[in-house]
């Protein structure tokens, strides 16, 4: 066991764990951050995704010691000043989730994608999201939500009308 200090969602948190522990279990069980979830433990599905220095990282295979001091953002930390991130808002406007279990990884992977490329083509969205799996198969709406967020972000007044009522 060892004391490790993490920067998570803008706050410093110190935990006493085996340094080889995957970041996922520290976030979930020591820091009570449940956005990242166990899906495969193999880095294949993306359910455990967090942002480390704005890169989408699979926390199930990332030893906690390797991210000490780095800025980590979980789904809980994506909203700013009580306002949802445009991607989260698009996810609601598009009514994306079915069960919702994988959506943490979908949203954060999309966030990292748009940070690098704010106006991706359809093909770039498909490619950028290809390794983030959804068993409910909400892919069609996820892609629509990403495009909706791109539109909402790129034009100030482009918040498109939702087809579903509030």
């Amino acid at each position: 066991m060892a004391n490790i200090t993490l920067r998570v969602n803008g706050t410093s948190r110190t935990v006493d764990v085996d340094p080889a522990t995957p970041l996922l279990y520290v976030l979930r069980n020591d820091l009570d951050l449940h956005g990242p979830r166990f899906g495969c433990g193999l880095g294949q599905c993306g359910a455990c995704t967090v942002l480390v220095k704005n890169e989408a990282v699979r926390s199930c295979i990332r030893p906690v010691s390797s991210v000490a001091g780095a800025e980590i953002t979980t789904l809980e930390g994506l909203a700013k000043d009580g306002k949802l991130h445009p991607l989260q808002q698009a996810w609601i406007d598009e009514q994306v989730p079915a069960c919702g279990f994988c959506q943490n990884g979908q949203i954060l992977t999309a966030k990292a994608l748009l940070d690098k490329n704010p106006t991706p083509t359809d093909a770039q969205i498909r490619q950028g999201m290809a390794n983030t799996l959804c068993r409910c198969m909400t892919y069609y709406r996820i892609q629509a939500a990403i495009k909706r967020a791109v539109k909402a972000t790129s034009t100030a007044s482009a918040r498109s009308e939702s087809e579903v009522i509030a």
Partner: protein, 772 residues
Amino acid sequence: MSTRRDFLKTSGFLVVGLSVSGLGNDLPLEAQRALGAGPYPDVDFRQLDSWIVIRQDNTATFYVGKTDLGQGTGTAFRQVMSDELDFPYDKTTCVMGSTDVTVDQGGSGGSDALQTDGYPMRRVAAEARRVLLDLASSRFGVPVSGLVVADGVISVAADPSKKVTYGELIGGRKFNVTLTGNNINATTGAAKLKDVREMKMVGKSPRRYDIPAKVDGSLKWAVDVKVPGMLHARNVKPPSAGAKLVSIDESSVNKMPGFVKVVNKGNYVAVVCQREEQAINAARALKVNWQKPATAPFPTSENLFAYMRQASPTLSNPPAVVGNSDAAIKGAAKVVEAEYEIPFQGHVSIGPAHAMADPSNDQLTIYSNDMKSYGLRDGVAEFLNMPRDRVRVVWMEGPQAYGRTAADDAGFEAAFLAKEVGKPVRVQWMRNEETAWDTKGPAFLVKTRGALDAQGNLVAFEYDARSADFNHLNYNEHDTVLVAQLTGARRAMPNQGSAARPEEVYAIPNRRAAMHVVSMPLVWETPLRTGNLRDPNGPQSNFASESFIDELAAAAKADPIDFRLKLLTESKEDDSGFKRARSIAVIKAAADAYKWDTRPSPRTIGSGEILTGRGIAYAIRSQTVVAEIAEVEVNRRTGRVWVKRLVCAHDCGLVINPEAIKRAIENGMLHSVSRALYEETQFDGEKVTSVDWVTYPTLTHNDVPETIDVVLVNGDPNPNRPDLPHYGAGETICKPTMAAIANAIFDATGVRLRRVPFRNARVLAALKTANV
């Protein structure tokens, strides 16, 4: 009597169903009692207070014994109940599926949430409205006929200044109204249901209330439950199916950090540790000596269909016969025969099975996302020999995999481990366990034979299905769940099992449909145990029957839609659900939406690398009818099939929430595209070798169609009738997808694929064989 306060003191984890209400704690005594630390008797379905709570601030909570699998059924329940109650939708909440606070409506299954369970919900809400009107009548001294009710406020028609809210009439108090009905589905009061045309929320699309918390990370899922002193467990599965445990070397793990205990009974082994990663490490490190069974538990997946072809059925149902197909085939101008193969496919949840069980207070509380929470409660009580009212299941949201998954097993395992260790224990399966050992959709082998007369009329259709679905499991049963099998507590004989017949209503003069069950050599303790996977047999039977209808249409040189419509219009008779008329309506609606060009398949095969084609299939499930058109691109060089466009015309009667249902249909179609193109559980002679997302590939973002069109159809001959039924929607669309894609591939290439899935290599080989 226990109180809510006692519960909070003794448990430390609040019932989540109620914490989501966020609408105050002034629950009536009946609901408060249910929150106590046990015992947990069944909630009385004949008490109106068991279903509806109205508070002084004019908010209401509906208590229903269903679970939401991520398709928005909770939102739909609020819509229909708000409508019957005449209460503002946005002032309501819904509590679902926890055995001690909601009546036993069975949880979820069979896509019957609205078709069956929606009716008692509507009736109790209508009854509450009636009772409230009576109360207002007494208060104002005005007969009910002189009252007006809207949005939870009752006013006097002649003097609208006289008004009272529901909250003022009943808030904080009990209805104390006894309902009638021989069973929960028949629950009713004296009130009549509304004319569906007068319902205000039905047919609208309020946003699903569960989505915001799934998007901002605030939802507490079953997988998140944590109580003080909770331990973590991981299973150690036999390395090969049917292996017997010889010995365990506990010294291989008992010095590891956080080690608590190895739990073993029969062939069931689990390791319990303080922390989750410790349990994972210890379960991997534990040395267990297993003995493989003397005979192979099953064939290899490559040899599966050869095995199924030669195996003696363990069950053959008497065939369903119309006319004389043998004679018709003998006299026919053209006879077509085909054989279709659908492999085992997994549920393969994105989040492996999990549950937490807390044995505090000599009770057992299981936190689970199991869709059948009541069955879990009953089964665990019997498995652990506990009185049923000392066990409860708190249902919480979880990852879905659309059927009876290992969530059942994990619930039993957590309960078993908690009792063994005497402390709260959380168990979760690892990815390899989930993909290999979760229940499977059954493999099918279907032989078909059909005959056309000289004019191209279909005169005979024979269907002969073999399922490898021994279907020996019911669900949540103390003597069939995996831990019961592994601990030796299983029953002596499995169930007989079943196969499936096509459910279309084509008028064909001579028909024969036979169904058989063949069994794998190993029936128990096997990773090939079957469990209902979205439908559960329909995608298989429909793949065969709707592919074959297409083959017959091609043999008759008829357009695939014309050919089907002719079979549906041959007869003018219809059943009480108007399935024939509604089948015609959905097929026409799908054709219109797609802008179908009438011609036989295949089209003239192109010369480029990409070949394009379209195919249709249609299906009935219970009372719901759907038609689906797939447009595909087949890459001649790689064999890759891309489903570029999907069109679905869908008639499930009265639609409660159109936007939610559209998404459920889209997702259901894509799940089926995944099964058609990629999914197959593979195994060698001793174990399942599909153990992760590489060895069990599924659809990805790269494969998503360019467009999906869903058309909601109301094909009822009297579409505006006041009692238009709401049928089930979840699963029907999963039936026709495989055939629609196979038919589209045939249209594009002239090559007929009769073996699922249509992975690149299989498609490429078929194209090469046909010189395409």
